[in-house]
Symmetry: C2
Subunit: 346 residues, 2 copies
């Protein structure tokens, strides 16, 4: 990034709103955007929310197809742009995702950047979840092409475990775009007659007014851990996710949703009463009711807390994301043993 | 308030954006709004920023006259509404302020509410700064009429000194308006098949996604201090401001901008070389350069930090706001002595 702008204390969705706002500046009125595996699914709801918030309307958001692993299909992006233009709309922004919320999918950024380049579109990459992978020499290839993005959103409060909230918006722009978009020159707050270079005052570049200095905790953490320390965290998280996946494969009654490429380990717990009944007509319906029951039990026991969700045609499954650097393989064993214990009578 | 909605972690300006968004819902396209003492002054810049952010455009914000104390003039509000309607615009929201940023002015809410009622307009009160005064039996009359507002923004992180950020948006509405405005029903985040009443999940009511539980610190502080403890803080702050004002009146070289009605004590430090020269043609120009020099000196010494700003035709003056409950009269004495020490050669 030629120029980077820290926007601490904005959560990922607000950063997406920021990116939309920035893309609108000097440009136009419709957008092509990455979404889930079908029109009824959504990879992150912040884009539609941002479009509503900015007065563009949710109808201006076009949903691009994703493949079965949740990755944007560049051919369909090209097709959607063509359709939008044929309808008289003026696409201006493509939002790709590096690390989707549920499946942890990474969009093919090089191919998407090619499409954007051909059509002169702003490429925003929502790397809120996956951006930290850039710190790992081993795994950063997942983000190949991100250097071609016009804007990137990144949440160190996710994978790096900085305290909520800690978000950054990185821009290629070197024309002081944030100031041009957001500057309101409120003379009673942003005095120009200070004794230091007022270009250092970032207050007038952002949407909010009063806010915490959230960049400080990232800076401190980075100074304390170093590039290598943060890289170790990322690599260890990948190793633990791999361990968990292999354990899931070994055990009866656990079924992976798919082989993960990132840290999102998605799987079903199939209780004893449903094992071997995959062909019965109400199997999926009954399986979908298992995760909510187990969640209730673990919360009431206080032993652990794992999120579940449906995804497109797939019924409720658990999603374990290992980001805490203090976790070990023994914790993964505990997690699976506890699920089995809580679900043995189902 | 019939129904209250806590929106922690939004700063005051974001809350104003929220209020605008809420007012737009089901209604329309132009607004009459309180502003500073002339068209070139602004009481809080968040309203114009919010209008830009929501795609309404800053031209849709009309500036209502304020009197010499910074209070909205209800007759001018009525006039602006008439002018807007005559131009074919449809006013929908009036934003009044309880405790303006610089002068600490409280708008006459009863008279403004009358105007809003006559015209069927949403009344928003930006009580970000002054809202905490409601906790004081002695001073709460400053907010008389606020019970007639449709929405109120309040920042406990200001006068109550809760840690940044801690903001609340209070609504008369009892129709679950926030949910209707912001709800995006992202099924992978806001599951409906939980074991408790999902109406308790507030995540889908707000603009942001990942966020801190900022209401907790307000709740804890309130439990720890009680109504009376918080009331004492407010009353003590008023008493200290009064002490400071009386000290300023006693001393040579200090000049009040106006007799304050709130905690904003605004004054000039007139250095020895300018005393008695009020009639010289460059007096105001030279006086305006004093505060930045003193600010530089106090910052470099590390002894204190007091903000200054111009306001309309008034050149740079200091604004001391006493909110910290640990401060005493001795601190006020120190502050004035230090100003005199730092400025004795000017």
């Amino acid at each position: 990034m030629a120029d980077s702008e820290a926007l601490p204390s904005l959560a990922g969705d607000s950063v997406a709103v920021e990116a939309l706002l920035r893309a609108v500046f000097g440009v136009v009125v419709d957008e092509a955007i990455q979404k889930g595996t079908s029109a009824s699914q959504k990879c992150h709801y912040s884009i539609q929310k941002g479009a509503a918030f900015l007065g563009l309307g949710t109808d201006s958001v076009r949903v691009v197809k994703a493949d079965e692993r949740g990755k944007m299909v560049p051919d369909d992006l090209e097709r959607q742009i063509g359709m939008a233009e044929a309808e008289g709309a003026v696409p201006f922004l493509v939002s790709a995702t590096s690390g989707t919320t549920v499946l942890g999918a990474f969009d093919p950024l090089e191919a998407i950047a090619d499409v954007c380049q051909r059509h002169g579109l702003w490429l925003h990459v929502d790397a809120a979840w996956g951006g930290s992978v850039l710190l790992s020499q081993t795994h950063r290839h997942l983000l190949d092409g991100i250097q071609r993005a016009d804007s990137v959103a990144w949440n160190p409060h996710k994978l790096l475990a900085a305290g909520l909230q800690c978000s950054a918006l990185l821009l290629q722009d070197s024309s002081n775009l944030l100031k041009r978009c957001h500057g309101s020159q409120a003379s009673y707050l942003f005095q120009q007659d200070k004794f230091y270079d007022v270009a250092l005052d970032t207050g007038d570049k952002v949407v909010q007014c009063g806010r915490r200095v959230d960049c400080l905790k990232l800076w401190l953490m980075w100074k304390a851990q170093g590039d290598q320390g943060l890289e170790r965290r990322i690599d260890q998280a990948f190793a633990l996710a791999r361990y968990l996946v292999e354990e899931i494969k070994k055990r009866e009654g656990l079924e992976l949703v798919m082989e993960p490429e990132f840290l999102n380990v998605c799987f079903w717990f199939v209780p004893p009463s449903l094992r071997g009944k995959q062909d019965s007509p109400d199997y999926h319906q009954r399986l979908s009711k298992v995760a909510p029951v187990l969640k209730e039990r673990m919360v009431k026991e206080g032993s652990m807390m794992i999120g579940y969700q449906p995804h497109g045609p797939r019924g409720n499954f658990f999603r374990v994301v290992v980001a805490n650097p203090a976790l070990t393989c023994a914790d993964m064993d505990f997690l699976l043993n506890e699920l089995e214990r809580l679900g043995q009578d189902l």
